[in-house]
């Protein structure tokens, strides 16, 4: 099962880090941009080629140190069809380099529409006698506002193709509380969502003790992380908000199970654009930042374990 493979990779690489592939054109090294703009002019093709080259460099640099990458599709979608070609390239190149791919798509809709998203991002499209992959990744992120449809409609692809989903439970942004923190008879809305997710996680759990039905819980809410870990013991956690958004190694320990596993900690800008702050080559910068983050998390996990 995907969740077991992911846990295996986390153990092998001694690293629960997922690198967020969020391309920001103005932060891609100038020489890369200049080269493609010279070839293709001021076009989306030039942007797409710049992103592809940049991402491949990042993947080369971090693949030995992390189990997974997480391209955020919005950053590609803003560059249209050409941007989505770069998204597909990132997913494909990461897979070829042995990485598990989390498509951060935050999709979710009703019935047959949710099913179409499931086919797009986890499954295969049937065309006559052929089955064709389109935006296929390993895990997709899902928005739960529409209820069970968001989990249910993805289950067929999850089982058939050994895929997974991370359902938004408590997000890392400042205004997340407006809906997610509303109090429902002593429980928050995000806890209600956690119950829903937990039902699906438990139903579909791997030998590692973790399920391919996971939850997104922000690093910026460390107390909530601990509470939610208890409410969803078998859910794999995807934790955004580390680094640029303010979360540090101390903030994310609550995301892990007692075995020190079960969580993927995301860092995007802090790794991709480390070179802007520290100078030098962007690939070396990304590798160095990844190793530092790995070490910081590892130390914190050791400290916590020794404490008990």
């Amino acid at each position: 099962m995907l969740s077991d493979r992911l846990v295996g990779e986390i153990i092998k690489k001694e690293s629960p880090i997922v690198v967020g592939l969020d391309p920001r054109l103005d932060m891609i090294p100038e020489d890369i941009r200049n080269k493609h703009f010279k070839t293709y002019g001021e076009t989306l093709k030039a942007v797409s080629e710049s992103i592809i080259e940049f991402n491949r460099g990042i993947i080369d640099a971090v693949a030995p140190h992390v189990p997974a990458v997480k391209p955020q599709i919005a950053f590609y979608e803003q560059y249209g069809i050409e941007g989505l070609i770069a998204y597909q390239d990132a997913c494909k190149y990461a897979k070829e380099n042995g990485l598990i791919v989390v498509g951060d798509v935050k999709r979710g809709d009703i019935g047959s529409t949710s099913k179409a998203y499931s086919i797009a991002h986890l499954g295969k499209t049937i065309v006559g006698t052929k089955k064709i992959s389109t935006f296929e990744v390993d895990f997709a992120t899902i928005n739960p506002y529409l209820g069970d449809d968001c989990m249910q409609e993805f289950m067929e692809e999850i089982k058939l193709y050994d895929k997974g989903i991370f359902v938004l439970v408590k997000t890392s942004n400042k205004t997340s509380g407006q809906i997610q923190d509303l109090n429902v008879a002593g429980e928050k809305v995000y806890e209600k969502v956690a119950h829903l997710v937990n039902q699906w996680s438990e139903k579909y759990c791997g030998g590692s003790g973790y399920s391919s039905i996971g939850a997104v819980v922000g690093a910026t809410y460390p107390e909530e992380l601990e509470i939610l870990r208890k409410k969803m013991p078998s859910a794999m956690f995807l934790v955004p908000g580390y680094g640029a958004q303010g979360g540090g190694a101390k903030d994310i320990v609550g995301a892990f199970g007692k075995d020190g596993l079960g969580a993927l900690i995301n860092n995007s800008r802090g790794i991709l654009y480390a070179y802007v702050k520290h100078g030098g080559d962007y690939k070396s910068g990304a590798e160095k930042a990844t190793i530092e983050m790995k070490s910081a998390i590892s130390n914190e996990l050791k400290r916590i374990r020794n404490h008990y």
Copy 2:
């Protein structure tokens, strides 16, 4: 303002109908499919070309009778890059035929990521000295689970390019209540979302009394429609669930303001695939179904007005 233009078109065409462009390959007339599969083989290109031809036929048939169309991006995304080319074609062709386009994308994310979606679906992407449209539509649908970020980050494009959003408040599916109906001190979660939407609607309201910041409320929950109309007096309503999902003309009257305006009623399958049920040409079938729906809604609105 977009909302005023929409109200103008609704009055001009005496029709609050938005036709959902949800292509289902197996329901596209066989002769269209056969032609493109013969030319392109069992490929996504063949699917894309079939969808493009089908959609253009539908748009030709319904354009005189409706103010707007609503392509549901999931149905295109499942066919990958080629599918999204068909999505862009639907948006462009509809615009060329004088229709307002609602991109049913249900996007929503945090800060800069939500902004990227806003650029993708409402704005223009800056590439060097150029501004390029990618998936640009008039209105986009938005998921509110992440809070104000979902409205805030779209405001720049809404103002700059005269665009709008429909925020999911109460969706038409059966499991929508699992999160949306949770009780928060006497109010439902969807009512809390309605308050948020109303704040933004009132801030940005047009001369017609309706705002380009609107709400999605399902036809399958008629009582909620009435309650929500009162809570969001200036929000334009987008009402899915009419027809195949079970809602009828009587169910949607609560969506309208006292002026009989302020709502767009969506029908997808009931119009697109009317020919399957009634035989004949798909374009005539779609036109006939649209005229019937227009008449059913008009009669119901008259009945209600006479009642008071």
